[in-house]
């Protein structure tokens, strides 16, 4: 058998993934481009102002997000925090897509730091083009259901670990532990995914 590993960059097309899951017919599918479940992502982002003002607002928002991680106040951030910054701005790139983005904003000879001057134009375009839109709640639920074909309503701890650390873009041990600490029901050692999703969504709202 062929080991299915998603090619790390261009192959990840959102529409393709979501349509690969057992969905109701396409007509019922929410358009991933516009709706977003979290007000943190939607609130005040796309206004009815003319484009120039919108770009200026994007610039300010990007600057704010960047500055929070600019510990030395010298317009640079550690490259390892760039992913966090991009995601804090409401985008959800895959690890592969993130890799590509970092390559775009890095210096020709990577220094381990990313400068704001390079980050700003790239990030502005990402926001303007509405790239890397986040995953809607119901699609997330479907994904869990795919991993639970017996429709028990939960995944065992071992099952979740197996999928998250062996498939797709595997979790690091730290990521796995972090997810488990909030998701797991210690009595049954399982993850009741519907409750988990609801809890996370409430937390962000």
């Amino acid at each position: 058998t062929v080991a299915h590993q998603v090619p790390l960059s261009k192959g990840f097309s959102r529409q393709e993934y979501w349509s690969g899951l057992p969905f109701p017919s396409p007509g019922d599918l929410p358009n991933p481009g516009t709706e977003s479940t979290s007000p943190a992502l939607a609130g005040g982002f796309f206004t009815t102002e003319p484009p120039e003002v919108a770009v200026a607002e994007f610039h300010k928002k990007i600057k704010e997000a960047f500055e929070v991680f600019d510990h030395e106040s010298n317009n640079t951030v550690d490259v390892r925090e760039v992913g966090t910054i991009i995601r804090s701005l409401g985008c959800c790139p895959s690890e592969g897509e993130l890799h590509d983005l970092i390559a775009e904003v890095e210096e020709e000879e990577p220094t381990g730091y990313i400068r704001f001057e390079k980050f700003l134009p790239v990030m502005t375009e990402v926001l303007l083009e509405r790239r890397y839109r986040p995953i809607p709640e119901d699609i997330l639920l479907r994904a869990f259901e795919v991993l639970d074909p017996a429709k028990r309503g939960f995944l065992s701890k071992d099952e979740l670990i197996k999928y998250m650390t062996e498939e797709g873009e595997p979790f690091s041990q730290e990521e796995m532990e972090e997810m488990l600490s909030a998701a797991i029901d210690p009595e049954s050692n399982s993850i009741h995914y519907k409750d988990y999703i609801t809890m996370m969504v409430i937390d962000e709202n």
Partner: protein
């Protein structure tokens, strides 16, 4: 319930189906991982924002503290304008009571009752006394004032023998441990001693300032550190921090802790503590290579001068030297004669104070912060000291043939941080400083020729760890609460700023306009756009209803009839007023007379350009005179001004119903 799956139906063996299944699983896994990483990143960002809020507000408060310093200078320079009946006030404010008391003056007349079952120290102190104290404090016992005074007195005596900078050496078999700010968090000190061993001849320590204030066990920490110092004076090194300052203690909690724990002898303790602070060394130099100081440096830092000055003349950051330069000789004479006339002993006869240059050098050491930007700039966040860049670090380190600067003064999420190309290390030892879960603490172990090693820890009350999202929620709510209280204390100014931009009087502003006004009035340098969802409501067009920010908080009006703007002003300046009051109330009785209260307010008002009608204030004061005996219990007065959070009230009523 049996839902047939593909395998039962006999399709499982076909490799094509297997591939299809695993492809679906792969895609599902990707979706979940993608979502989780986004969620996790947003969580970390929320944590960061909360820390930024805490830090900005903390520094803004410190700035307020230094502004108070200007107020005192202003008062001292202008006291000749103070009407005749006020000299009592000025005397109390600036009368110095530094006398060379001896042991008997402090300890005589204090008796330890037989009923006292706390720790009893035996002088001369030995390591068993250190153990004794630690065990006692673990059981939350309080050391009797007699011993406190004895320790302070002995500590002062020994410190007086020490130079401004302690020079010490390490060897491969004798590493030294450096700890940063503890701020009264006793559990962190216990943890450090547990992990790293008690101080001894073979286990030397440097404690880099800020032992006290904020946490609730500043006294216990001080006692453990001072006793350890008396037992091992050549192996336990103490550096002065900006909080080892009797005026800072008035604002940031240590004075309150002392007066609460030591109701009878607190005043004596405060008096001698003030002096002990001034004798703490300015810094430590390890192996002639590593400079350990509390804050930082400036481009003009002169270590030779700092080695020479009489450090004990630095009483407080709030008491800068009175100007004495040539072309103000007139004023000086006026001050001089008048000083004598009023019989005031000021913060020196002029020979008892540092020169302006010396004073600033010490401020730089205690208050500065490193930054990435090259050069040296005034530290506007804190209001004192400066921001120094990597070029400044190189310049000063090279000038004195040093290799590294270890400092503290700033809370770091990981407990430590390295910057300026490895030349500057910040170490901070109070974990969960702002809130449970806010940050780790750390300490450093180093010896000559080896790379420093870092040890991190985090005290947690809960026996099982709470998941990350709950911890983040907790510090986020706490930070937002503080921010809202800030907003409410500047409500009048904020509304004015908003209305200036709101031409149509629609009650709404664009995000950009709102963020601009917020920063303009509050000056906290915060990411307003990202925080807006927590503070105000936004309509579907992305416009902000600016009044919504004040909806669920208000300042409790102690007296209904008084104007909101007055309430707001008192609330906003309550820390400053508290300090001034503490100084006036020199016998720490908690009461001041109406007259003193009024004159204090008048002086304060003119310096801070506060536009409040005197009559309003008088009315408030009358109504607050709860005993109707002409005196005001100032702590009660201040307590009456507190911020009410709507949701606190709702929760309270919920529990009533339940």
């Amino acid at each position: 319930m049996n839902t047939p799956n593909l395998e039962d139906m006999g399709c499982g063996t076909s490799s094509a189906t297997k591939d299809k299944k695993s492809e679906k699983a792969l895609k599902a896994a990707l979706v979940i991982q993608n979502w989780y990483r986004g969620y996790s990143a947003r969580l970390k960002t929320r944590q960061r924002y909360a820390l930024t809020i805490f830090q900005s507000i903390e520094y803004a408060d410190e700035q307020g503290q230094l502004q108070l310093s200007n107020f005192f200078s202003f008062m001292l320079e202008n006291y000749t304008n103070v009407p005749e009946k006020e000299p009592g006030l000025v005397t109390r404010l600036f009368g110095s009571s530094i006398q060379d008391k001896d042991r008997q003056d402090y300890l005589g007349l204090i008796e330890i009752p037989d009923s006292y079952c706390g720790p009893r120290l035996q002088f001369p102190l030995t390591f068993t006394d250190i153990d004794l104290l630690i065990e006692a404090f673990k059981q939350q016992q309080i050391l009797h004032a007699y011993y406190v005074l004895e320790v302070l007195f002995e500590t002062k005596k020994v410190l007086q023998q020490m130079p401004n900078f302690t020079h010490t050496n390490t060897s491969p078999s004798k590493e030294i441990t450096i700890c940063g700010d503890l701020h009264g968090k006793l559990d962190d000190l216990f943890l450090i001693f547990y992990k790293n061993g008690l101080p001894s001849v073979t286990n030397p320590y440097v404690f880099n300032g800020d032992f006290v204030d904020r946490g609730k066990n500043s006294m216990e920490i001080l006692m453990i550190l001072f006793v350890s110092f008396l037992v091992y004076p050549n192996d336990l090194h103490l550096n002065r921090g900006n909080h080892e300052d009797f005026m800072m203690n008035m604002r940031y909690g240590f004075t309150k802790e002392i007066l609460h724990k030591y109701k009878l002898h607190g005043k004596k303790i405060l008096q001698i503590l003030e002096e002990v602070y001034t004798w703490l060394p300015i810094g430590t130099i390890i192996d002639n290579e590593v400079l350990v100081i509390h804050g930082g440096i400036s481009e003009s830092t002169d270590l030779n001068l700092l080695h020479r000055i009489e450090r004990n003349k630095m009483r407080s950051v709030l008491m800068p030297p009175i100007p004495m330069d040539g072309d103000r000789a007139e004023k000086k004479n006026k001050l001089g004669t008048a000083t004598v006339a009023l019989g005031i002993r000021t913060s020196g006869s002029f020979s008892e104070q540092l020169t302006k240059q010396e004073w600033e050098q010490v401020i730089d050491i205690l208050w500065s912060d490193p930054r990435g930007k090259r050069g040296c700039y005034p530290n506007t966040n804190r209001g004192g000291g400066c921001y120094f860049g990597p070029d400044i670090t190189s310049k000063i380190l090279n000038k004195y043939q040093l290799k590294m600067l270890v400092r503290s003064h700033e809370c770091k999420p990981e407990g430590y941080e390295i910057c300026h190309d490895g030349k500057v290390i910040t170490v901070f030892s109070a974990s969960n400083y702002y809130e449970e879960g806010s940050n780790r603490g750390a300490y450093i172990r180093m010896s000559s020729g080896t790379t420093p090693r870092f040890f991190q820890y985090q005290i947690t009350k809960a026996t099982c760890f709470r998941p990350l999202y709950q911890r983040v929620n907790a510090i986020e709510s706490s930070a937002i609460r503080m921010l809202k209280e800030r907003m409410i204390s500047r409500k009048t100014d904020l509304i004015r700023a908003f209305q200036l931009q709101d031409r149509n009087k629609s009650g709404k502003l664009s995000m950009g306009q709102w963020a601009f006004s917020m920063e303009n009035v509050l000056g906290l340098n915060l990411p307003w756009r990202s925080l807006s969802s927590h503070l105000v409501t936004t309509d579907k067009d992305g416009n902000i209803d600016y009044m919504s920010g004040f909806q669920d908080v208000h300042i409790q009006k102690p007296v209904k009839e008084v104007q909101s703007s007055l309430i707001e002003t008192v609330y906003r300046y309550r820390s400053d007023l508290q300090i001034i009051f503490n100084i006036i109330d020199s016998d720490h009785s908690g009461l001041i007379s109406m007259e003193e209260f009024r004159s204090m307010w008048r002086l304060f008002k003119s310096h801070y350009s506060v536009h409040i009608d005197d009559s309003q204030f008088d009315e408030l004061a009358e109504r607050m005179d709860l005993n109707k005996d002409g005196s005001i219990d100032f702590n009660e007065f201040l307590k009456a001004f507190y911020v009410v959070h709507k949701f606190d009230q709702l929760n309270k009523s919920d529990t009533k119903l339940a």
